[in-house]
Amino acid sequence: MNGAEYLLFILMLSVFLGFELINKVPATLHTPLMSGANAISGITVVGAIALAGTGDADLAQWLGAGAVALASVNVVGGYMVTDRMLGFFKKKES
């Protein structure tokens, strides 16, 4: 068994999980959920860190640093925006 096989397994399981998890979300949550999921997709930052840190090639390093910056915007901004949205949402409820 090689790495790709494991990755495939992981992919399949995650996809299934993703489908199972998001089930009948109320309309009011569509935007925050989208935004929250978007923040998670900023996980690329981890990949970027790996590449920026390798020092393999100059280009890769610069690209990685750029990726880190962009992904950081996504992550930090994403979580904060989502939180603000949800805070607002809660206030409206009560």
Binding site: F19, I40, I49, V68, L70, V75, V76
Partner: protein
């Protein structure tokens, strides 16, 4: 080995937190906590990644993070509540850009074909996400016009771009050393992102953003394959899958199909004159649920069929659930609905519908334009637009309840049979009408189950 075990465990934990976070985000009570949980997951993943790297070349990492984090934080705090959606679009675009860069950076001369494919996917999806999100941002913030942009030959151009993307991607995999193909792929994917989003109107942007969000997840996933990183794959594919589902849900709530949203622009250019007579569009309770769930103003128009089905109690239950969900609910009572004067009153009083929710025809008709969903329960003649539209109709001139003015109309009946007056009802063929076939009581019970669950 020691460090590697910590890394592995850290990534597992981070993925678990993402899963929990997403699950919690799906329910109003826990959403905010869910966001925190997934943020913690992200923190864990980043710390682990940093540890894993040792401190080599930390300046690049730290620099990027500080700059990016600061920008993100400032933007997130400054943005007005009303422009959150475009902010999300922008962030999403940056996420796409990051994936593009990671894919690019992962390119090394000794990459095998599998890795190359994943690299090209990462770049491609990342690129489309980037420019697509930027266009969406522009449309939402009205920096660009929010209308659908269309031009002659659009379809042809798009087909060419798609062909070009495929071609160059294949060439790149075959000749990874030639940077030209790489640049072509990058360029074309950026162009394609623009082309895909411009023909879509501003009102549909939330769906587009959700879809692009799903793409950015897929891009991260592809990047994960490219650099062989589990946590990217898990998080990316989670976002990819849940994003697709969410997109689907949003489409249903708008009573549109995804392809209708994505290609409506294209379609309307090519055949502008296809005004067909109308067709019957049946819908099931689950899809109806998504539309009702998103509605804030619902009108219920009962008729003889509600009486036959003895559905009054479940109708009341439905009204309660809709109100609990924040919608305004009114009943529109046509004077001749049913089979005896006051038929609907008897039944609705039995089900304890408050008198002030019962509106006469003359009261409900002017409000109909602001109604999101009009639910016609076993009524037929009293909602027949032929009374207004078809001069030859025997009921022409009779005032009816104008449900066609509502955004969406649900008609609950068992068949296409006509009502007491025995005449065809053009309502059933209208663009915004959906037929929920079946006994009214059963149909509404199904809706109640969907809404309650």
């Amino acid at each position: 080995m020691d460090l590697s075990i910590i890394t592995s465990l850290g990534y597992v934990v981070a993925s678990g937190l993402f899963i929990f976070g997403l699950k919690m985000l799906g329910s109003p009570a826990t959403a905010r906590k869910g966001n925190m949980v997934s943020a913690v997951g992200m923190l864990v993943a980043i710390v682990v990644a940093l540890l894993d790297q040792g401190i080599v070349e930390y300046q690049f990492i730290l620099g990027g993070m500080i700059v990016g984090g600061a920008v993100g934080a400032i933007a997130a705090r400054a943005v007005a509540m009303t422009s959150m959606p475009e902010m999300v679009a922008l962030f999403n675009g940056l996420g796409g850009a990051a994936s593009l860069l990671v894919g690019w950076a992962a390119l090394s001369p000794d990459a095998n074909t599998f890795t190359l494919i994943t690299i090209v996917l990462s770049i491609l999806i990342g690129g489309v996400t980037l420019t697509g999100s930027l266009i969406a941002y522009g449309k939402l913030s009205e920096t660009l016009g929010s209308g659908a942009v269309m031009f002659k030959g659009q379809q042809l151009v798009n087909s060419l771009i798609i062909l070009g993307v495929f071609g160059s991607a294949i060439m790149f995999c075959l000749e990874p050393t030639d940077p030209t193909w790489l640049y072509v792929v990058i360029g074309l994917s950026l162009v394609f992102g623009v082309m895909a989003v411009i023909p879509i109107g501003g009102a549909d942007m939330p769906v587009v953003i959700s879809l692009l969000n799903s793409y950015s997840g897929l891009a991260a996933c592809a990047a994960g394959f490219a650099i062989n990183n589990n946590v990217l794959i898990v998080a990316g594919s989670l976002v990819g899958a849940s994003g697709i589902i969410l997109t689907q849900i949003m489409c249903k709530a708008m009573n549109r199909s995804l392809s209708n949203v994505l290609f409506s622009g294209f379609a309307s250019v090519s055949n502008e004159t296809t005004e067909i007579e109308g067709e019957i569009k049946p819908i099931n309770a689950e899809d109806a649920y998504y539309i009702l769930e998103a509605a804030t103003n619902v009108a219920i128009i009962p008729g003889y069929g509600m009486a036959v089905a003895q559905a009054q109690h479940v109708v009341k239950e439905l009204a309660n659930l809709l109100e609990a969900n924040g919608a305004e609910v009114n009943f529109g009572i046509h004077p001749v609905a049913g089979r005896m004067p006051g038929h609907m009153n008897v039944l609705l009083a039995e089900a304890d519908v408050p008198y002030d929710q019962l509106l006469e025809m003359d009261e409900i008709n002017p409000r109909m334009e602001s109604v999101d969903v009009a639910i016609v329960i076993g009524a037929n003649d009293v909602v027949n637009p032929a009374a207004r539209e078809v001069e030859s109709s025997p009921i022409y001139g009779m005032p009816v309840i104008n449900v066609t003015d509502a955004r969406t109309v649900f008609v609950l009946k068992r068949s296409m049979a006509s009502g007491f007056a025995g005449i065809e009802n053009p309502l059933f063929y209208k663009e915004n009408t959906r037929m929920l076939f079946g006994d009214a009581k059963e149909t509404i019970s199904a809706l109640v189950r969907e809404l309650g669950g």
